[in-house]
């Protein structure tokens, strides 16, 4: 297991106070006659500008953790602080954007209007909205589909719209729940590069759920490995690959070492 609070990374200093801090967070769901411990005693500190990936078996609590951070769910116990605020305050100050696991597009809005939704909600100046939304659609390669309605898109295209929507308002903190899960490798790699560029250029902090070890390693400054039932943080792996990442990063000898380390952790958790 890797030391938890000893990490180095490109664009944040370890002396600043954590941007996100998770303390002993536990989440228990009561259903019909049983309880599901979706998260047990989770602890995690995230510095500003980090790129954190969450990886772990299906149903281990990744989504639950993101939802708790995003103030969409209240943990059974434990404390959360984001930028020194409660999750509610953070949410209300529009500190983050969230890409849900399902696209969650609105049937009644065209692709363009779906992407413009956060801009409308947050009262961006009218002139900019269209421009910004179109820019994001270009980023995800859907500029030609702006007039379509969601049901007229393929699964991967819907997911990309939802990514464009989350990026549109340029939030400093990004929660992304398997955003690239339904995409082919090439589109995925392109979007990986775009995301990294955005991250680098804007200094965003990203918390990213993925099932792809190589994606996690390629993108992240640290990878949080989780185990299932009860959902726990099994370990946190520091990704000390040079920044900025590029195509060569995947060839780097450390890449494989880290990937292997994560795989081991995962296997350990799975057993």
């Amino acid at each position: 297991m890797t030391a938890q609070n000893n990490f180095t990374q490109g664009n944040s200093s370890s002396s600043s106070p954590p941007l996100v801090s998770v303390r002993d967070v536990t989440m228990i769901f009561r259903t019909q006659d049983t309880e599901t411990i979706a998260l047990q005693g989770a602890n995690l500190d995230i510095q500003p500008g980090e790129f954190i990936s969450l990886i772990g078996p299906s149903g281990c609590g990744k989504t639950t953790l993101l939802r708790i951070l995003a103030d969409l769910q209240t943990p059974t116990s434990g404390d959360i602080s984001i930028k020194g605020m409660t999750p509610t305050k953070a949410r209300e100050s529009r500190a983050y954007g969230y890409v849900f696991q399902a696209p969650a597009l609105m049937d009644w809005r065209s692709v363009l209007k779906n992407v413009m939704l956060p801009l409308e909600v947050m009262n961006f100046p009218k002139e900019n909205r269209l421009e910004k939304a179109r820019e994001m659609l270009r980023l995800v390669g859907l500029e030609k589909f702006e007039k379509n309605f969601p049901f007229q898109l393929s699964g991967g295209m819907q997911q990309r719209v939802s990514i464009a929507r989350a990026l549109a308002f340029d939030p400093p903190l990004l929660f992304m729940d398997e955003p690239f899960g339904a995409l082919d490798e090439i589109t995925r790699e392109n979007l990986n590069m775009e995301l990294l560029r955005l991250w680098r250029e804007t200094g965003k902090t990203v918390i990213f759920v993925t099932h792809s070890i190589s994606e996690a390693v390629f993108l992240s400054t640290r990878v949080v490995v989780m185990t299932a039932r009860p959902g726990k943080i099994e370990g946190i792996v520091n990704v000390d690959l040079p920044q900025p990442r590029s195509v060569e990063t995947r060839e780097h000898p450390r890449f494989f070492e880290i990937a292997t380390e994560i795989r081991e952790l995962l296997r350990k958790g799975h057993a």
Binding site: R67, A70, L72, V121
Partner: protein, 322 residues
């Protein structure tokens, strides 16, 4: 391309279409002939035979219209259904010598419709425009505002919704006299009755609609720190639309009938309800039914307009994807 393939599909059915059209025509002719030859004043001989032929023609006609309807997406089947049924009613009434003072034949109604057209148009203005329409709009506005409050505050949902059902349980026959007493004999008292009867369907539907928003959409808006207003307009209102339109559709006919019935309880002498009441008392059921036909036509047009609006506004809804 597409039309070609449709044509191709239908070709084997061409002969069947021909047969059904023939049957439709036959049914019309028989029914018309029966009606034409029977004069209501003279006695009818061979009643049983004629009854059987008439019912049989209706049966043949309906079946044939059903066959015609299978290959058409236009108004023709509805129109044929209409003509067959009307001819059947005409023939049946004549065969059974039903007096006009009880049920008039459709032909008498048509004549009355023509003769009374000016009076009826003025009645329509009172009943539909002043009473039904104004009451409809007022009811919607009040109903929607109440629904918003109810959907917003759990307290109101528990506290007000049950009372809202009280409103709709007050029969018009009890409400209308009170309204006349309170507001007067002129049209506003009827518009008020219409508004009251329309409110409940609106509230029930709109509240349910507002509460049906997808949890994921609500989460999304929450993640934006969206104000309740934004959540309301961006998520809840669109999801409530199909429900809202259901309520509107029901309210189209409800408002019309409420206005008509409310006129039975005091009026200054205009309106379809007044006309129906006064002419029913004189056993002039041809004018009564002429007024009902006018009301029905308005009802259908009103309903269709709302239906068209629904398609326009909620075209995205699953119910419009085939």
């Amino acid at each position: 391309m597409a039309s070609y393939s449709v044509m191709k599909e239908n070709r084997p059915q061409a002969s069947r279409a021909w047969i059904s059209w023939t049957l439709v025509l036959l049914a019309h002719l028989v029914l018309f002939f029966i009606s034409y030859t029977l004069n209501q004043q003279q006695g009818v001989s061979q009643k049983l035979l004629l009854q059987i032929v008439t019912v049989l023609s209706l049966f043949v006609g309906l079946t044939a219209v059903g066959l015609v309807a299978q290959n058409r997406r236009d108004f023709i089947p509805a129109a044929l259904l209409f003509t067959v049924s009307v001819l059947f009613v005409e023939a049946m009434l004549r065969v059974n010598e039903v007096p006009a003072g009880l049920i008039p034949t459709p032909s008498r109604v048509v004549v009355a419709l023509y003769n009374a057209r000016e009076v009826l148009m003025l009645d329509v203005f009172y009943t539909f425009v002043l009473e039904a329409l104004i009451g409809f709009v007022a009811g919607i506005v009040i109903g929607v505002l109440a629904s918003m409050a109810v959907a917003r505050y759990k307290f109101l949902e528990l506290g007000i919704l049950p009372y809202a059902s009280i409103f709709s349980s007050i029969p018009i026959v009890a409400l209308a006299p009170v309204m006349v007493k309170a507001i007067g004999l002129e049209w506003p008292s009827k518009a008020a009755v219409v508004a009251v009867t329309v409110i409940f369907p609106i509230i029930v539907n709109v509240v349910r609609g507002l509460q049906s928003a997808s949890p994921l959409h609500l989460d999304l808006m929450r993640s934006y720190g969206a104000s309740p207003m934004r959540v309301f307009f961006d998520v809840r209102v669109p999801t409530a639309m199909p429900y809202f339109f259901n309520a509107l559709k029901i309210s189209t006919t409800l408002s019309l009938i409420s206005a008509i019935v409310a006129e039975f309880f005091g009026t200054t002498g205009n309106g379809l309800g007044f006309r129906i009441q006064i002419e029913a008392g004189r056993f002039n059921f041809d004018i009564v039914w002429a007024a009902i036909v006018v009301a029905s036509v308005i009802g259908i047009v009103f309903f269709s307009l709302i239906g068209a609006l629904e398609r326009k506004v909620t075209g995205w809804h699953a119910s419009y994807r085939s």
